[in-house]
């Protein structure tokens, strides 16, 4: 349910959300304190807040740091509503700080070096390298499992280290990575991007229309995810289920050849310069016909260019010769440092957050999917009821993607420190870009990068982490 105690300064875009809240309020008369939110064009609005615990000194303090969520409304809800309510119920003052997603590693390293910092630290990818600095999160996993059943396979493989038998993080959410495509443009070509073959077939025509396909090959997150997923669809995996590097394989070579062909026939050279925002901007500007991205594209389009938003739809990742295998776009992982001051409450906070994940799911506009699938009831129905989407059931496919087509980075193995380092050095986009630009042959690239990644893995193996 959209939380009735929304503490909100309403902007026009959020008017719709407020309407939903009002409707729900009328339905649930008598629950909680009514929120009066007057909407106005950009005017600052006065909002009656959550129940205030006047003046009483709270016994404990809990300090959290996390990224500035792409959906500002989520941060507003989390900071002003959720933690205040939880804090009141647990006699704790909860302080939430925000940092840019790119600065998370630097701040994490600083806190470890300082041996002092926040109780809960949020990473947007499994922080395998920090395993020695954090507690074993097993307790929290067990607590949630008792109430919500088994942890999702994705979250398990992302936060568990089979060699040390330790949960080095607690994942509360992940974000599925759908394919976004323009129904009108693909309609003109006459096929749908349900398989990579189709994509390659349609690409030259789309490019000729001035609407190229967009799979980034740059040093950034979107490229990393899209290319790794593409590779898996062709049978190329970085490691096997025993966490041994198997990059140099036929599947990888096929994927490289395919990507090169796709670039030459259907993409423009901008993909080598992309930032995480670039595919969003290109699609919202009407240029791209196809992109792999979380729903930030559609959500932005809904705000900036609603006509265009109606023409963008979502599908699971196209299928390749090895089937349909996708990756999460980002993975929310909280860690509790060994030197955290308030470990008990930190654990309780995480357990409580995940057990009732509905508020987070809705307030993030379906960006955050729960790592325990049972933590949000009736996901499909909620997705269907999105107030803004046209067609209304646009986001329904997210449920299917989340359930069937979202794997962890490093699948079929676990997300370990070797994978993490390779990921942070953008070696996969580098490999694809070099082949696409003709600087290496697919054979040479697969061999070279296999060797580089093996060296990285060996280093971490020697440290006992892989």
């Amino acid at each position: 349910m959209t939380d009735v105690n929304d503490v909100h300064e309403s902007t026009p875009e959020e008017d719709v959300e407020i309407e939903t809240t009002r409707r729900e309020l009328i339905r649930r008369a008598g629950v909680g304190i009514a929120v009066i939110a007057t909407a106005g064009m950009g005017a600052k609005t006065a909002v009656a807040g959550a129940p205030k615990y006047t003046g009483r000194e709270l016994k404990e303090t809990l300090r959290i740091v996390q990224w500035s969520h792409f959906v500002p409304a989520y941060d507003k809800w989390f900071d002003n509503v959720y933690v205040k309510r939880w804090g009141a119920a647990n006699d704790t003052e909860v302080i939430v700080d925000h940092i840019n997603v790119n600065d998370i590693p630097a701040r994490a390293a600083a806190e470890v070096a300082a041996q002092s910092g926040h109780d809960l630290f949020f990473f947007l990818s499994p922080p395998a390298a920090y395993e020695d600095q954090v507690i074993d999160h097993k307790e929290i996993v067990q607590a949630v499992t008792r109430k919500r059943g088994k942890i999702g396979d994705l979250a398990f493989r992302s936060t568990y280290n089979p060699r040390t038998k330790k949960y080095f993080a607690f994942s509360d959410n992940y974000v599925p990575d759908p394919a976004n495509y323009r129904t009108d443009l693909w309609g003109e070509v006459g096929i749908k991007p349900t398989s990579w073959d189709n994509v390659l077939r349609a690409a030259p025509k789309l490019k000729a229309m001035g609407n190229p396909v967009g799979i980034g090959m740059s040093n950034e997150l979107d490229s990393n995810m899209a290319l790794m997923a593409l590779m898996m669809c062709f049978g190329g995996f970085i490691q096997n289920d025993k966490n041994r590097v198997v990059l140099n394989s036929k599947g990888t070579r096929e994927a490289l050849k395919f990507a090169k062909a796709l670039y030459e026939q259907g993409m423009s050279n901008e993909i080598f310069a992309w930032t995480p925002a670039s595919n969003n901007q290109a699609m919202v500007a009407g240029r791209l016909s196809f992109a792999m991205n979380a729903i930030s594209i559609t959500r932005t389009a809904e705000l900036v260019n609603p006509d265009l938003a109606n023409k963008i739809e979502l599908l699971p990742i196209p299928a390749g010769p090895n089937g349909r295998i996708g990756l999460e776009h980002v993975m929310g992982c909280y860690v509790i440092w060994k030197f955290a001051k308030n470990k008990r409450l930190a654990k309780k906070f995480l357990a409580d957050l995940e057990t009732k994940y509905i508020g987070a799911f809705e307030n993030s506009k379906f960006y955050n999917f729960p790592s325990w699938p049972n933590s949000v009831s009736n996901i499909t129905r909620r997705l269907e009821r999105d107030p803004v989407a046209k067609p209304a059931a646009k986001y329904k496919v997210l449920g299917e993607i989340a359930e069937k087509y979202t794997k962890n980075v490093g699948y079929p193995g676990t997300s370990n420190a070797g994978i993490d380092e390779m990921f942070n050095k953008f070696l996969i986009p580098q490999m694809f870009a070099e082949v696409a630009q003709g600087k290496r042959t697919p054979d040479d690239a697969a061999r070279t990068y296999d060797r580089q990644i093996r060296e990285i893995f060996q280093k971490w193996r020697d440290l006992g982490k892989v």
Binding site: E9, G42, K44, V65, W67, S68, H69, F70, P72, D97, H98, I99, N100, V101, N102, D103, A106, R107, A109, A110, E111, A113, A114, Q115, S116, G117, H118, L221, D222, T275, P276, A277, N280, Q281, V284, A285, G286, R287, N293, A294, S296, T300, L303, V304, N305, V330
Partner: protein
């Protein structure tokens, strides 16, 4: 000769003009972007130098001031800069003087040594420093920056002041000494006033170094109310894969213009001091 002067001034404009154009063009572009609505900005059809679809608008600026702690960050940056400048002067002035006058041969090498400090990138120094900051209980406090920033302003300031003090003829000081003043007195009453241009330069450069600093501010402070503009902007106007370009550009312009005005004003003064001062 009038023609010669005219030729000179044409040459001047021909040279300085293009430089000024190229250097200032990004800011001109930032101004334009800051005044555009998102609908106008993200449309490749639109002329970027024109306005369409609701532009020009002050929405971006309004967003900056109302929905973020921007004003606070500006204040924090100014405060940190000012305090660090004072600390720098307090430590670098005597050091620069000593190196220029009093230290003989080993003073030279010490001067070089101070300079070598700059060669280590802060990209890794911030880790051990984080430990120090935490031990002192300064994590998430602006005082952490006040403590650490002088570590890169002092070497530069000392170096600069050493240079300036060297250009002040010894005769001036010696004259005062002969007249019976102690060295300290001569320092205060004779040397420092003449080196005012140098001091001004140190102020400008140190302040500029502080405002530009990024890595330490990032590592030491996460609380929004204690952020400086560099980190605050980065955190709240770049959310995941969405850049709030309009607000970003506005945020860059707002401190830059007053700072440039300030620097420009001081520049006149210290050049005047140079040519006028010590060679009366």
């Amino acid at each position: 000769m009038p023609t010669r002067r005219r030729r000179e001034s044409v040459l001047t404009y021909a040279v300085v003009g293009p430089f000024a154009l190229v250097l200032a063009f990004p800011f001109y572009w930032m101004l334009w972007t800051a005044l555009k609505t998102d609908g106008d900005l993200y449309n490749t059809e639109n002329n970027p130098f024109g306005f369409a679809q609701g532009s020009p608008t002050l929405d971006n600026v309004r967003f900056l001031f109302e929905q973020t702690d921007y004003l606070r960050w500006l204040g924090n940056t100014a405060l940190v800069g000012a305090v660090v400048v004072l600390i720098t002067l307090a430590i670098a002035l005597p050091a620069g003087y000593a190196l220029a006058r009093l230290s003989g041969r080993w003073g030279q090498s010490l001067g070089v040594g101070i300079f070598l400090v700059y060669l280590v990138p802060p990209t890794l120094l911030f880790l051990p420093l984080s430990r120090l900051i935490a031990e002192l209980g300064l994590q998430d406090s602006l005082w952490a920056l006040v403590l650490v920033y002088p570590s890169f302003t002092i070497p530069f300031a000392t170096w600069l002041l050493m240079g300036f003090f060297k250009t002040i003829p010894r005769e001036l000081e010696d004259a005062a000494l002969v007249d019976g003043a102690s060295r300290i007195r001569s320092l205060l009453h004779v040397v420092f006033p003449i080196s005012l241009p140098g001091i001004l330069t140190v102020v400008i450069f140190s302040f500029s170094l502080c405002v530009n600093e990024f890595v330490y501010a990032l590592a030491f402070i996460t609380q929004s109310s204690s952020k400086t503009i560099s980190t605050g902007i980065y955190t709240e106007l770049i959310r995941g894969d969405v850049f709030f370009w309009g607000a970003l550009m506005a945020a860059t312009l707002i401190p830059s213009i007053p700072l440039a005005l300030l620097y420009n004003t001081f520049l006149d003064r210290f050049i005047a001091g140079f040519t006028g001062g010590a060679f009366r």
